[in-house]
Subunit: 336 residues, 2 copies
């Protein structure tokens, strides 16, 4: 009963997940709440979600037994630099009865640690956004991209969705027959095909205008919701979608290349919703990475909250074999 | 004194310009007011600017003598489809004493007509946005791009500005020495070089974060304000800027290629702030266009309000030589 406990948190734009585990790798509690990023949700709302997730995860245990904690979140630097958000998080920490401190790390490091206990390697994430990072001694040493949808996130879900619309507009303007990815995009954004003449330059322009208006009526980031159409069309061997996926893989591999030396042999962890499943993008990126770094083990990211918990646990005195603890908490996720 | 008059209007995002001329090509009045696009400024504000510009231009003449008018504006189709905006414009028309009707054309056609009286040709515009259009019988037949900054405007001022920041971020992440275009961008957005360590991954990441924050703190379209930095750096033979300009020229030529057949021999009019001066982009685009369409005359767009006035005048019974009228109103703008 005196075995100490650790808390790991994975704080994202759409969910906040908490995990409580023993230092021997037994998970005792889990909690989940809504998006808890103070940068995007505001400090109070984020703190509220953090409390919900922590309260649920800590319910089966005495919070006083927790001796280390780590949270991974996008924009960790902004939390650390924002005294209001930091104070709100500190208050929640007291309210749920935690006595230990907590480390704040970027989501990139937490995702890396969810895939491997190796101290040196690379992480590439493609979800709504995209980022690549070099990990040295389990700290984030260098980063490429992660610049957000306006300036970067090359190969991300946003990028895929925007490219899907761009290819659709080009297909219409060059008079391609309606099929494949452009057809999926038009149906998703417009319902049935737009018909009839327009005041300026005929039906093609009318369809183009309707598509542009459908996209610009929503927040730009909503383009990421079209990414699954690209994945679906690529699975059905649509050539336009296959080219979009190939380009995304090339861009993501290029981001890795900005932070990884040609001779590096550490693992490359693939994280984010577009890379952790058996998706065309993870397959294409795996090929591109193997070509450039044939010796690198490719690993799929696991549970980010468990990755953060492992990061918190590994420096505790009673954790004598961090790699074994990693295996118990996270298993092995080597790509086929 | 009984010679009839025409009115031309060039309605843009930053200015509304009106011109009154005789059908023999003598300009009698000009007016200028603020941005008058009803789509971006709202119907009432746009109508107010329209009235200011028209009132000034019509001051020297009897408005009852005006027998034809045309206005070129971006999103002409939206004005025609919006009864509120149309009614507001109609009210202004009555208030300033005009009795004739008015044609509404896209800014692309007005820009084309400001460069040439030839009935068939192409127009390519690069200002804040970018669009290419095929003109047949002095109507806009087909269009490529003009999709706005989120989805397109490839090779536009927005595109140049965003690309300038992207190249700057890449230069920082790959450890390039600070010089040329990246140096101009950093100085413009951050003032002096950012220094010191960051909480996540060192000074490079800190500069990257500061740049991303400086850009995302403003409306996306503000990126277009960085386009002059690209032009300036390209003039100073900076290789990064030269590559950005070359890519923009290729994208603009590609947009022209979507709407112009390989054998087309009509003129190509270059319009918009990035193409009407002696700029590196107009030179690079001129080269790209000459390579693909060696027989096409390349022409610089002139005064859009005069182009619209000519469009209005050319069908009047007392205009027997539209080409001669075009020459008197707009001169000749063939590129060297």
């Amino acid at each position: 009963m005196s075995e100490s406990l650790v808390v790991g948190l994975d704080i994202g734009g759409t969910s906040t997940r908490a995990l409580v585990a023993t230092t021997t790798g037994t998970v005792l509690g889990r909690g989940r709440a809504g998006g808890g990023n103070p940068t995007t949700h505001g400090a109070d709302a984020a703190a509220g979600e953090l409390r919900l997730a922590l309260t649920a995860a800590l319910a089966p245990v005495d919070p006083g037994r927790v001796s280390a904690a780590a949270m991974g979140l996008a924009g960790a630097g902004r939390l650390l630099a924002d005294p209001v958000a930091r104070a709100a998080f500190d208050r929640v920490w007291d309210q749920v009865g935690l006595r230990c401190g907590y480390d704040v790390t970027g989501d990139a490091l937490a995702a890396y640690a969810s895939g491997t206990p190796h101290p040196d390697g690379s992480i590439v994430i493609a979800g709504t956004g995209a980022i690549a990072g070099e990990i040295r001694d389990l700290t984030l040493h260098r980063v490429a991209d992660g610049h957000g949808w306006l300036l970067g996130d090359a190969g991300s879900g946003f990028w895929l969705g925007r490219e899907a619309v761009r290819r659709t507009l080009a297909a219409i303007e060059t008079g391609q027959p309606r099929s494949g990815l452009p057809d999926l995009v038009m149906t998703e954004l417009l319902g049935d095909p737009a018909t009839g003449g327009g005041p300026r330059a005929g039906p093609a322009r009318r369809t183009v205008d309707a598509l542009v208006q459908a996209v610009t009526a929503r927040p730009p980031i909503a383009l990421a919701a079209l990414a699954p159409l690209v994945v679906r069309a690529a699975r059905a061997d649509d050539p336009v979608a296959a080219d979009v996926i190939a380009t995304a893989a090339r861009l993501l591999a290029g981001s890795v290349g900005r932070i990884r030396g040609d001779g590096d042999r550490g693992p490359i962890v693939l994280g984010g919703g577009l890379l952790t499943g058996d998706t065309p993008l993870s397959a294409a990126l795996g090929d591109a990475l193997r070509e450039r770094w044939p010796a690198a083990p490719l690993v799929t990211a696991g549970d980010g909250a468990a990755g953060a918990a492992w990061l918190a646990a590994r420096t505790l005195p009673d954790v004598t074999d961090p790699a074994a603890l990693h295996h118990r908490l996270l298993g092995a996720g080597v790509l086929p």
